[in-house]
Symmetry: C2
Subunit: 335 residues, 2 copies
């Protein structure tokens, strides 16, 4: 059973716990600082498939299969899977998982998808709607570039505020368990749109929603940055992280010492030519389901906030002159 505290915070009473997780990345991500953390990688980022979209679907399947293997489960043991991605009509998920015999709930949160899926899977497990539930998401640099921006062959110049879409996927399996990291509290984010229109500056578009979700959570729970081992955002990058510091400090909350961003961890910003950092659903998904859960296993994390950040734009909305709505969902993971 879930209870509500404050305006937007949920508290789960039955400890929906991380019993399995899996990550898969492409070549560039494997060459980055987290290289040794990922379960699987592929050297040409095609994963044996004929198109980038099919490669993305394949990554989702691999991530789920890896997570299942780690907890010695089969697809028949999963009562529901929450899945989504950045591709039009979320085909990364539907084609990736269609051969699996798992009840399928499609979600769309742009790059906030991993956390959105975790919240919904937690709800199912906590309430008894599922004994075991899963969440998975993915992104692929090549499928995202040609869909959102330009075909790769065009060779467009990318401004310094732009981010590099992670080729990667991550899957988490939740069930009631003991001695595993569990989702203690969570919050669905609200859409925040301060009028940023630059599709090459997602960090700026997403930072206001990250600040809003985080400040609400602190208020609802009466907690502060010091209560947590880390406050991890999805893909704010350099620009967005700086803006998050400014927006939270305007409200008297200082998170610099606790904050890390998956988009800043997954690449070497100095040598990998990714400008403001990594982005994409696969960014927070692959880092959560490798480095972050490894930190729990090593005993270095005991209590963290994990917040995937999403920019809810489409090429059509941008062409019609719209600004970029941002959204940030939050989970509090403890052991």
């Amino acid at each position: 059973m879930a209870t509500r505290i404050g305006k937007t915070t949920l508290v789960f009473s039955n400890k929906p716990s991380v019993i399995g997780y899996g990550s898969v990345v492409g070549k560039k991500e494997f060459e980055g600082p987290l290289s040794g953390e990922f379960d699987t990688h592929d050297f040409d980022s095609r994963f044996g498939e004929k198109s980038f979209e099919k490669a993305e679907s394949r990554m989702q399947k691999i991530a789920v299969e890896t997570a299942l293997r780690k907890c010695s489960m089969s697809e028949n043991d999963i009562d529901v899977i929450f899945a989504g991605d950045l591709l039009n009509q979320c085909v990364g998920s539907s084609f990736g998982l269609r051969a699996m015999n798992i009840p399928f709930a499609g979600i769309y949160g742009a790059c906030s998808t991993m956390t959105l899926g975790l919240i919904l899977a937690s709800l199912c497990v906590d309430s008894g709607a599922a004994n075991t539930a899963a969440a998975v998401t993915s992104s692929h640099f090549c499928s995202a570039e040609r869909q959102y921006r330009f075909p790769l062959e065009y060779g467009s110049v990318r401004p310094q505020s732009s981010q590099w879409t992670v080729t990667g996927a991550g899957a988490t399996i939740l069930s009631i368990s003991r001695n595993k990291p569990y989702i203690d509290r969570a919050a669905f984010g609200k859409i925040a749109d301060l009028g940023v229109k630059d599709a090459n500056n997602m960090g700026a578009a997403m930072a206001p929603s990250a600040a809003s979700t985080l400040l609400s959570f602190f208020k609802d729970t009466g907690s502060a940055p010091d209560c947590y081992d880390a406050i991890i955002t999805g893909d704010l990058g350099k620009v967005g992280s700086e803006l998050l510091y400014i927006l939270t400090e305007q409200n008297g909350v200082r998170i610099r010492e606790k904050h890390i961003d998956c988009g800043l961890m997954i690449y070497n910003l100095k040598s990998q030519d990714v400008h403001s950092g990594g982005s994409g659903c696969g960014c927070s998904a692959s880092v959560l389901n490798s480095y972050v859960f490894h930190m729990f296993e090593k005993g270095k994390y005991k209590n963290i906030l994990f917040m995937s950040t999403g920019a809810l734009l489409s090429p059509t909305s941008t062409m019609q002159g719209e600004s970029i709505p941002g959204i940030t969902h939050l989970v509090n993971i403890r052991i």
Copy 2:
């Protein structure tokens, strides 16, 4: 608290009830057989906006505002809203609801979105994660045609198996209440893909998933078509409905006498040139949140199955030679 029966069926114990609902449609839908049922319509289907995509967003907002007004609530009373649509990156929802101060959970189920949203909103209300939760979705003929098929100006010929995307939206608000229709049981669907590749024959692509979800539900619950006042599918149309009869009858279950399809109800098939019937997220959403709930109010429905059907394709997947995965979610609504 939710319990599970059989393989995929959820039973809610706290009666998440329909306390408010709203529907909005375009010109063609208002000229159809359900004309008098809808709350709002617009004569040029633009709803005062400059683009079809913005018109679709506007419809979602109107649907939610209508539903709120009917239960004398404001947006601040809603703890979470589940929203999705057919547009790339679901911009119908994110732009339609961005100005509302409501925690936002994006979902993607293609035309199954209304039922998917209802299940998740029910889960939140039933488990205590929300006091009040909402679900909304939309589709627009003009935004869907140019995104999925051809620009309207092209004037392409449509085969007889094709369906007409409904211009419409529907919103439902759920809370614990008495003497209102409530979501008693539900099931997340599994993806079914029997290899149909014709994007002009969605009914055939979706029918196998509808049969699978319905047969599982009957098996899990030990119930039969006779137990229900109606078995309502979303948008199988003429072709898909016939296939559903064949597929269920192969398993000894006859639903013909109980079955109606929102896609066959919303238009006059003889005079409105819609070929196999209506389709789109807005089809089941606008019919549920008008005709179906009115039937409960009139006392003509006491116990129904409502199943929105979705085709999880994208233009890209079709161009890459993929078949069309179908999905059908189910809710059992009673009073």
